[in-house]
Amino acid sequence: MPILEMAAKFGVYAVMGVILIFALGVVTLRNLFHCALCLAAALIGIASIYVVLQAEYLAGVQILLYVGAVVTLVIFAIMLTEHLAGKTVRQNNSQSPLAIMALLGFMALIGTVIVKTPWPVTPAALASKVSVMGLGKALMGAYVFPFEVISILLIAVLVGTVIIAKKDTPERS
């Protein structure tokens, strides 16, 4: 069914465009709360791109961890520091034209590399399917050491975050 396939491809490109529009909203909107909402929308769109690339479990993790946890954390931080973000406060520094020029050069360079490189797309890789069981086996087999390192890092981050963010005790201040 070529017409159905073409419609599906068009849909994927439309999702990519919407993600880029939301990403532009993240970096240009003045109200930081709107930025966080745009970030949540962009992350959900990226999760749908993962589904297109047949990484369904990763899409679930993305929605749970990013949209569920990180965006909530960001919104908490925005709420706790909110009354600074008034309408008259400048949100960008004065280096915007310079940054745009440098980024255009960067994008031209990397885009040329992407288009010119003959990527070794193999039919064997395209046909392969990743199951959650395979992921678990790889995580407990070949990648067990990075897995343990990540768990130690997460405990360190938990303790460090509490210590940094808690109020100072009276005898110290």
């Binding site: 396939e5 491809k9 880029l20 990403a23 532009l24 993240v26 970096v27 930081l32 930025c35 970030l39 962009a42 992350l43 990226i46 791109i49 297109v52 690339l53 047949q54 990484a55 990763l58 993305q62 961890l65 990013y66 990180v70 960001v74 908490f76 931080a77 925005i78 706790l80 520091t81 400048r90 949100q91 520094n93 280096q95 940054a99 745009i100 980024l103 994008m107 990397i110 885009g111 992407i114 288009v115 990527w119 070794p120 797309v121 890789a125 395209l126 392969s128 399917k129 990743v130 395979g134 992921l135 790889a138 995580l139 990648y143 990540i150 890092l153 997460l154 460090g160 975050t161 940094i164």
Partner: protein, 104 residues
Amino acid sequence: MIVLPLSHILIFSLLLFAIGLYGALVRRNIIGILISIELMLNAANVNLIAFSKYTSLAPETGQIFAFFVIALAAAAAAVGLAIVLALYRIRKTVYTDEVNLLKW
């Protein structure tokens, strides 16, 4: 399965990365910079998944690295926002150009 050309996905993630980098360069608010960094990490994740889908013969590898990136991004967001809150409590500001005590 929908098969897009690999270069289109790479171009998409390049644009996403560039937008995130723009935000990280021009934002004054530290929370805005952290949000932009999350965008850049997501662009890298899209690349990892695309390469593992299109070119790798061990397709779990890219997904597992993407898991690690997500875990590290969550850790970075938690520590960064804790630092922002501590800074706000001490200096009453979240703008990068007003935090210049160590700057010449």
